[in-house]
Symmetry: C2
């Protein structure tokens, strides 16, 4: 983008000076690396260290995580990673000044949040792991943050950079009651069904989604619907509902005969499901409708699965990785509050993580 | 609504305990009164006083602004209002603890913000007056808040309770660059053109909008487009653009011959414009299109006026008081970020004001 496209450069109003925030980044995959590049431009933040699954590197003031010449992350310059050492170093900073940013997607790292929060270290993450364990663990973690006056922020758990979680929280805080949340929260599924609309066989659409990077290497991780279910579990808990992931009704799109085969066999044999999907789509298309994978949180229960919608409806018109979330509350009842936009991608996810970091007081 | 419709009652997570906030409410019209009823349910806030254009009433702890029996606001019990006395009383509280909520819509009250902010009193308002004066006055007010570590919040200036301003600010703060904001921000205009779609004469549609409470008593206040222009002026300034209201190109829908007549003459003679509007709509409708009143902020300029859009497009499908705001930024370029929902009404506006109050640190 050429700078002239931007509406304006002065962001004077937005840049309220704040005390320095010391950032430690765990995980330097796509989102972590993008976050590091984005945070470099923010005067109120200083990255003090970063790690991947094997190495940790501590930065001196003024030192950038990138190599001056190559622009690469220099993690090979780091030491062997040891979580006890890392936590001990972070705990040396004044309480409330350190923000632990977890982009690792690792279960091991999520297990550290409780310790970090109780040491006065804030946690920000796009990972859904900590929020989708048992209700008891969820309560415990949030209670721990409250008691220690630390913040646990996870806006990007749902819709990446879209303002979904904070809008739901803001409605509840101001005394509104959420009546219903419906949403299309899987770009992979939306891509899949917009291809089936065009008459493409199921297997071809899945393989294409995979090669475009929309679907996971093993597309069953998307087709199971579990990722959408996890997002709705988090939304439900934010609304104050107490439930376990097993309470959510999830419609899996994995052909039963291919549930337990190897990943490569799965891709090879996926065409076996084509005929069945063709037969399922035909009557839908003949009615001027299409299918979308939707979640519904209503009357204390969550259901995620396929719904038939008119092709010309807002949901039927969705393509690509666009998410659409519709919130009905006591105040937004007749006309719901709708948020729509790309709900995946490293740029918008990292930006959402950074926005969380900047909101920490 | 019966309580059973709500997803859940426990809002445990959302209710982070906070220090008490002392609220003074100026203006007890529709929004002010609704706000008072909403804030009564919030444990972190205490209303210490309220005023209308003539009286002020101070409340003892535990005292409610409403009469126990009638449920009415008891402002007639108050003293004669004197701003100097009010400000002196508010300044007696510890700096940063008092929030002045202005729902009066009065220019006189907006003139007090500078004094209040410099005395350590936060200001929250749905009124656009202070933000739409000269760029110099705008800068001065925001700088004053910053320098005194007080907050000036006005989320409801655009889209009432919809998260528009805070989403734009959050994008900018996290280093994004806004490229374009387009929006339908006038419920009156949307109602008007959805009636013209149905073949209703212009004059009838305007008079109906007025009787339904969508349009102002003198509908020229809506038809001028100035209200939409003011919202875009604020959005533009938040994006860092420096401009005056006179820099905005506004298409007025007031028939030139009726610009300067009395309000009652205006309504009586409005049918004179029906033929012209019929001629204007016919070719539009024959193309399967309709008209919507839209604002566009792009390339450093703002333009608000009519655009022709396909009837089946998201904007063409809008009805009632629904607002639709589309944000394109460097990160949200191919797929914009869209926020849609009711952009007017006392319940959602008051709730947006309360959300602002609760966000003050």
């Amino acid at each position: 983008m050429s700078p002239s496209e931007a509406i304006a450069y002065s962001t004077e109003i937005a840049r309220i000076p704040q005390p320095a925030k010391y950032i430690f980044v765990a995980g330097v995959g796509a989102v972590g690396e993008t976050f590091l590049r984005q945070v470099a431009g923010n005067a109120s933040c200083r990255v003090i260290g970063l790690c991947n699954s094997r190495h940790v590197r501590w930065l001196n003031p003024e030192e950038e995580p990138y190599d001056d010449r190559s622009g690469d992350l220099n993690l090979w310059k780091g030491e062997q990673k040891n979580w006890n050492d890392i936590i001990r170093k972070l705990a040396n900073y004044e309480a409330g000044c350190v923000i632990f940013v977890d982009t690792s997607g690792s279960r091991e790292v999520a297990e550290l949040y409780a310790t970090l929060l109780s040491l006065g270290i804030h946690v920000v993450t796009p990972s859904k792991i900590a929020n989708t364990r048992s209700q008891g663990q969820f309560d415990e973690l949030h209670e721990l943050a409250r008691r220690n006056d630390t913040e646990f922020r996870y806006e990007t758990n749902v819709g990446a950079g879209l303002p979904v979680i904070r809008t739901v929280k803001s409605l509840i805080e101001s005394g509104d009651e959420i009546l219903e949340i419906t949403g299309v929260l899987s770009g992979t599924m939306t891509y899949l069904f917009s291809q089936l609309d065009k008459g493409e066989p199921f297997s071809k659409a899945v393989i294409k989604a995979r090669s475009l990077g929309y679907a996971e290497p093993d597309p069953r991780d998307d087709l199971s619907g579990e990722d959408v279910a996890r997002k709705f579990l988090i939304l439900a808990r934010i609304c104050g509902l107490r439930l376990e992931s097993s309470d959510i009704k999830v419609e899996s799109l994995i052909p039963p005969s291919l549930k337990d085969v190897d990943a490569s066999d799965f891709l090879e044999r996926l065409h076996e499901a084509d005929e069945e999907w063709k037969e399922r789509m035909e009557p839908v298309l003949s009615r001027g409708s299409t299918l979308r994978y939707e979640g519904v949180l209503k009357n204390g229960t969550v259901r995620v699965g396929l719904v038939e919608v008119p092709k010309g409806s807002p949901i039927g018109l969705l393509t690509g990785t666009t998410n659409l979330i519709q919130i009905k509350s006591r105040r937004y009842k007749d006309q719901p509050l709708i948020i729509q936009g790309p709900g995946a991608g490293k740029e918008v996810t990292a930006a959402g993580v950074l926005a969380d970091v900047l909101k920490i007081r």
